[in-house]
Amino acid sequence: MSPHPLPHGLTPSQTVGPFLAIGLPWPDGPFVVPDGTPGAVSISGRVLDGAGEPVPDALVETWQAAPDGTFAHPDDPRGPGPAGFRGFGRCPTGGDGGYRIITLRPGPVPAPGGGTEAPHLDVSVFARGLLDRVVTRIYFPDEEAANGADPVLAAIPGDRRATLIAAADPAAGEGAFRFDIRLQGGRETVFFDV
């Protein structure tokens, strides 16, 4: 039983199954901002299962603040952020389990308990085999001071914290980051209960 009895029972989650590509991908999904936007960065990586094999039928979604740390949403108590920044990315994985999101780096965000959350993206992963989405966060490797003061990262044991921090990928060009998502196994990504 829920600790909070609900007047209306929630609709339960079910898996997206193997055929999400029929209904969910958008041509502009991976482009939170158009490719070539000044300051745009790419975040790419692979979704891997417990055997280390690629997950070719997953969907990765991202949600984030604008570069000034605001959200284009009426519930941001500081007022709505810049119009025109979608803040949302969506990319199905390919045969190699890979995904790619093109976006602007988010700004830091005030934390609910005081303090400041380091720049981050919230991530949902959907896939066959997942009866509910799993949620993680992407932080940036060159924000060491901000990451060190982040209350969410601070609550994660040190040996697992690294799974939430993207890696710079200079071979892929300036502003390129890698973030692999391991659903299971020795280096299982930290997933959150939100």
Binding site: P3, Q14, W63, L130, V194
Partner: protein, 248 residues
Amino acid sequence: MTTDLPSAPGRLRLPAYQRPAGVHPPLDSPAYASSALRAPRRPLVPLAQGLTEITGPLLGAERVTAADADLTTRHGGEPLGERIILAGQVRDSGGRPVPDTLIEIWQANAAGRYAHGVDDHDAPLDPNFDGAGRCRTDADGRYRFITVKPGAYPWQNHHNAWRPAHVHFSLFGRAFTQRLITQMYFPGDPLFGQDPIFNSVPGPAARERMIARFDLGTTQPGWALGYQWDIVLRGREATPFEPGEERR
């Protein structure tokens, strides 16, 4: 980049969304074989809901045309199968309608075959049906699709496994916490008892909430059977706002 962040400690008052304890299926559900190598094994880490979680993408107006809600008219001819109307209301658990939110659906055709290269079920494709639709809820949180009833189909989970007929539904709500992807089922389906996905949801009451209701009032005489299915997303806890300050 960090100008003017009003982050005085403890001053940020945000709505909080109820946590759905016991409603969703456990990720680790051994009867569903595909979860074995994909469900995380470590406990989920509790995350305090901050600004990133209580906001979310407000999508839809620019992504949807009225024609997207009718899955039967997008090709040269009428798809085969039983024409149906799927309609309902999206609310939160406090009973409030969720207006202007994007709903995306996908489904098999009437023969139980998906228009997807990975589906190798030996049943015919229908050139007049791709199985994808989308719409945006109206000001009262209501939606309506026209489609055909999907067929059941076999799968490899266990010996003689068949999925009950279902339509996949994807919803955003108004916050990251409200994001939901689920499946809608049809009343009286004889395949419920052997389906590990349907039965992964704990408790008969919650499973019942995934089943649409046949509705003669939604049925159009001489044209299509009607089903009603209401969807309930996580609602807000009552506490954070001052009186008179609450926003929808």
